[in-house]
Amino acid sequence: MSRIVTLVLALLLVPVPASAQELVLSVAISMKEAVEELGRGFSSGHPGVALRFNFGSSGELQKQIEAGAPVDLFISAAQRQMDELEKAGLIVPSSRRLFARNVLTVIKASDSRVDISKPADLLDARVKRVVIGNPKTVPVGQYSEESLRALGLWDRIQPKLVFSENVRQALDYVARGEVDAGFVYTTDAATRATNVREAFRPAEDTYRPVVYPAAVVATSKQRSLTQTFIDMLLSREGQAVLARLGFQPPPLGAR
């Protein structure tokens, strides 16, 4: 027993190998693979900088920053969350950049036997459950709600709706076959191509453009290094990685 205690105490004394610098990146989860890959490129150019990723829905990450989470960079999947943080003075306005765009799609499990090829098919009796992100906190849910409203389906689809905490949970519900259809981004569908397939794409004029703003968080002590990361997102190399993973370039001149 005493030997175990000694061992534990000894472990406490071992210094944790601290990196010279650490950047905490709160990133909308639909950007997960892209930012991880871009992060590897960034790390090789900045040895000694450790990147810590914090993935979640943009709304959830926004609340964390409002509650004082020690974050350097925020990447949102919608302008709304970034606008609210900017209004509250919690990001550095001059650092804010739009760096990518995405497209909404409706998916079903790859072994689904239900024919879903147009929006009205979601009302078919064989479609029992449809997952969208919780519109209160999850951007993909906000875009889905806009689209369903514009398509005139919002009221009638209510009894079938299941809410997810982020877009990847929606993707997982469909992949597991727990729900018949789900609204995600095309880039999410691509990450589980063996489990899900596209049913149809809602017309792009039925919802606001899906854009990704990035900004330095006001409490960051490493503003210039964080800004370097944002610049990298917009660099030719950064845009090439994003394009390869299915993201579209940001609208010209937008912020």
Binding site: E165, G177, E178
Partner: protein, 221 residues
């Protein structure tokens, strides 16, 4: 209180009452058998029932999905046969709460049953009572307070269930969003006022339950 919170409250009460009824139905016979019988696999049954008390609720929730999900061990045949899936319905919330609350009753009740004087049971046997009637007329009434205390604890546990419910039943306002899930969503969306109200309500309810369980437990001594 917003209509969403009210519906969460009503759902929580409904789910907890149904779960407590199920716990009583399954748990009391189980507690009796565990306290009074020695049989092969007894330790395994005991462990299985107690496990949800020890495991992270998300692990229990995952097992429930594996069993009851649309592609689950039991869920798939059910879906094939009836087109019905338990996941994302209030039944799922009730089942999750039952599994999580069961060990609290079984532990408390089997201890109470084990402490009933065996001589009294033997007396009943010599008077010609079967084991079944002895259990109903002698053992369980004598262990009553312990069983009731267990049921009260089970109700409280069901009321507070979060993790396994979130995994199996989801978090659908008006359908599967119980009070704990409603609090989670309210905090996530910055509705601090609503969250505070529900937190206060659950705290008061839990205190009342603890006092009730304590009194019943004291009487059982």
């Amino acid at each position: 209180m917003s209509p969403q919170s009210l519906s969460a409250l009503w759902l929580s009460v409904k789910v907890s009452l149904v779960a407590t009824a199920l716990v009583a139905l399954i748990g009391i016979p189980l507690a009796y058998v565990l306290a009074r019988r020695r049989f092969w696999g007894r330790a395994a049954v005991d462990t299985l029932v107690t496990l949800p008390l020890i495991l992270p609720p998300t692990v229990t929730g995952y097992y429930l999905i594996v069993v009851l999900g649309r592609r689950g061990v039991l869920g798939a045949p059910l879906y094939e046969a009836t087109g019905f899936t338990i996941a994302f319905t209030w039944y799922a919330a009730a089942i999750a709460a039952t599994v999580m609350a069961l060990p609290l009753l079984v532990r408390t009740a089997s201890a109470a049953i084990a402490s009933v004087d065996r001589e009294l049971e033997k007396a009943a046997y010599t008077l010609g009572r079967s084991e079944w009637r002895t259990a109903l007329e002698v053992t369980l009434p004598l262990a009553r307070n312990g069983i009731l205390a267990g049921l009260v604890l089970a109700f409280a546990r069901a009321l507070g269930e979060f993790g396994a419910t979130l995994m199996l039943a989801g978090n659908i306002p008006g359908k599967t969003q119980t009070v704990p899930l409603s609090i989670y969503t309210a905090v996530q969306t910055g509705e601090t006022h609503e969250a505070l109200l529900l937190v206060g309500l659950l705290t008061v309810l839990s205190c009342a339950v603890l006092v009730a369980a304590g009194r019943l437990g004291a009487r059982a001594q």
